[in-house]
């Protein structure tokens, strides 16, 4: 991987990390953020690595843990933050909130908080891409828990049958809500299910952005060659609770600590430093510039007006 690309990856992950750490902070202030705030801290390499392998026109379908996906795909931090705050200037006018933010401008077309609900939709967008003979793919993000939903099964079967240009990215962060993987399925690797649809299934280190990037790039090429979908399982870990209200009592402290040592952001940072591709000075500057982006986004959100109550009636129908 070129250094330039790798720095991009690093930058993307840093943005996600800062953005979400700010959300954690804001959640500690009572009534600052409405609703349930669900973060991907620790999983940034999946979002960044995947999206770095995509073109702007490629589509992503996301789930309840979407902030990373959206930012990595190029969404504007300001309007995403405003949406999380529920403000009128939010990218969905405050209708969506943190759980189902869609950013059509960057082809983050549909985000759904129904677990597994995005997978059939990804089949649909990929179908449209194939139907229109576009050189585009769809990436569908979902969790290990979602892989137990019927929708996963129906969708992977259909996508394989029709050789659709879709990449199923299972972000296996060990947990599904408060249940560990082994408490919700007996299979060791979700990727093993791909064989049941005659589809390639790949396991990658989800904390290694470069590995995720490579796997996605390969899968994308298969899609574009008309060879159909791939299931990529990214093994990673959720540093925080299911949502910010979750006290993580069920997550062993040493397990969290072990995974924090394998921090995906630090990993790529170390590699870049070792390769002499970036200096400590440049890192500081980058962090500062990103901190500013996030500060600006929060300020934008805070200073934005609430939607007027009657706006609730808009946008139901075309």
């Amino acid at each position: 991987m070129e250094n330039k690309k790798k720095i991009e990856l690093y930058r993307s992950m840093l943005l996600i990390r800062h953005f979400e750490e700010k959300l954690t902070e804001l959640c500690r202030i009572e009534r600052k953020l409405p609703g349930m705030v669900i973060l991907c801290t620790g999983q940034e390499a999946v979002a960044a690595g995947t999206c770095a392998a995509l073109e702007k026109d490629d589509v992503i379908i996301s789930n309840h843990r979407s902030h990373g996906h959206l930012l990595a795909k190029g969404a504007e931090p300001n309007t995403v933050m405003a949406e999380i705050f529920g403000k009128k200037t939010g990218c969905n006018k405050g209708k969506s909130g943190t759980l189902h933010i869609a950013v059509p401008e960057v082809n983050a077309l549909c985000t759904t908080t129904v677990v597994g609900g995005g997978i059939p939709i990804a089949v649909g967008t990929a179908f449209a891409q194939q139907y229109k003979k576009r050189r585009q793919v769809t990436v569908c993000f979902f969790g290990n828990g979602a892989a137990d939903e019927g929708s996963f099964h129906e969708s992977l079967n259909m996508a394989a049958l029709w050789n659709l240009p879709v990449i199923f990215v299972c972000e296996n962060n060990v947990y599904s809500g408060a249940q560990r993987m082994e408490e919700h399925t007996k299979v060791k690797d979700i990727a093993a299910r791909a064989a049941g649809y005659a589809m390639p299934g790949v396991v990658v280190d989800g904390n290694d952005a470069e590995a995720v990037f490579k796997a996605t790039t390969e899968a994308r090429l298969r899609c574009l060659a008309g060879e159909g979908p791939t299931l990529i399982e990214c093994k990673t870990y959720r540093w925080r609770g299911h949502g910010e209200a979750d006290h993580q009592a069920y997550q062993p402290k040493d397990e969290i600590a072990r995974w924090m040592e394998r921090c995906p952001v630090k990993k790529i940072e170390r590699e870049l430093l070792a390769a002499g591709a970036i200096s400590n000075q440049e890192i500081s500057e980058l962090e500062e510039s990103i901190a500013k982006i996030v500060e600006d986004a929060v300020r934008f959100a805070e200073e934005s007006p609430w939607p007027a109550p009657l706006e609730a009636l808009d946008d139901v129908y075309v």
Binding site: V59, I61, G90, C91, N92, K93, G94, K95, S96, H100, A102, P104, L109, C110, T111, T112, V114, G117, I119, P120, I121, A122, V123, G124, T125, A126, F127, A128, Q129, Y131, K132, T138, G150, S151, E154, S155, N157, M158, L161, W162, D314, D315, V316, Y317, V318
Partner: protein, 326 residues
Amino acid sequence: MQQITMGQAVRQALAEEMQRDPNVFLAGEGIGVGIHESPVMPTFGLLREFGPDRVKDTPVSEAAIAGLAVGASVLGLRPVVEVMFNPFFTLASDQIVNHAAKLRYLSGGKSSFPMVVRVKTGAGFGAGCQHSHNLEAWAAHCPGLKVVMPGTAADAKGLLKSAIRDDNPVVFIEDMGLYFFPTPVPEGEYTIPIGVADIKRPGRDVTVVTWSKMLGVAFKAAAILSKEGIEVEILDLRTLLPLDKEAIITSLKKTGRLVILHEATRTGGFGGEIAALAVDEAFSYLKAPVKRVTGPDIPVPFSPPLEQFYIPDEHQLVEAVKSVVL
């Protein structure tokens, strides 16, 4: 005018819209191969005519079929997907209700989902309650959807064409009982707007609000009642959502009496909505209790005499009308 069945009318609408707009495609279980390869079926011959890229036979996977439509429509295609029998709507309902109906709202109006879900419904085929269960009231309770349920072949054609051109998700429900009897359908291009009810028979004494196959029952009852000097106004809703409230109220202003007729089971059926509208917005015009003639509150039974008992008929309607007129 041509005489065709509703299945054939649906087929014409599909074929014409597919010719008109390359973004229209069809998907469903056996819609191409046709389990019972038969010209009464609405997708008969379309695979041959439009090829396998545009007529997709799918696995038996209702959720994926509905999701296919959601995803394809947000990228600008106009999918028309089929739910084989209304009870299987349950299996597709997360995609239709939580996604097709809500994702536009959730996007703040940025995205749209121009898709049609065709649902086959109706008792009378000895298929039992897992094939026969009218659930139009479910869809009509979901903002973001439009719900169309035609009672004639001519309406079906014009409404389906509108549904396909509509930029919102439309649930289009076809009663299979209408697949077997030819009725007149205009030649050539026409559409019928969604959301507009139709007075199928004017009359001064009592308004019968109905939709879908029950329209035929209403006509039979009206003929009987007319001989006894009672003139029924038959208002065919055609669209349940958005509801043409004005048409209902206008008719009630004239007749002051209302009987609602639908095949679905009574409790929680969409008839309640019509009654509620009447007793709110047309209260001062009502001269008599509002009656509902509906399927009883049971699953649709298999055995012919039991199934016949289930389906509302003209005699029940005649009786209900008399009870409010006399």
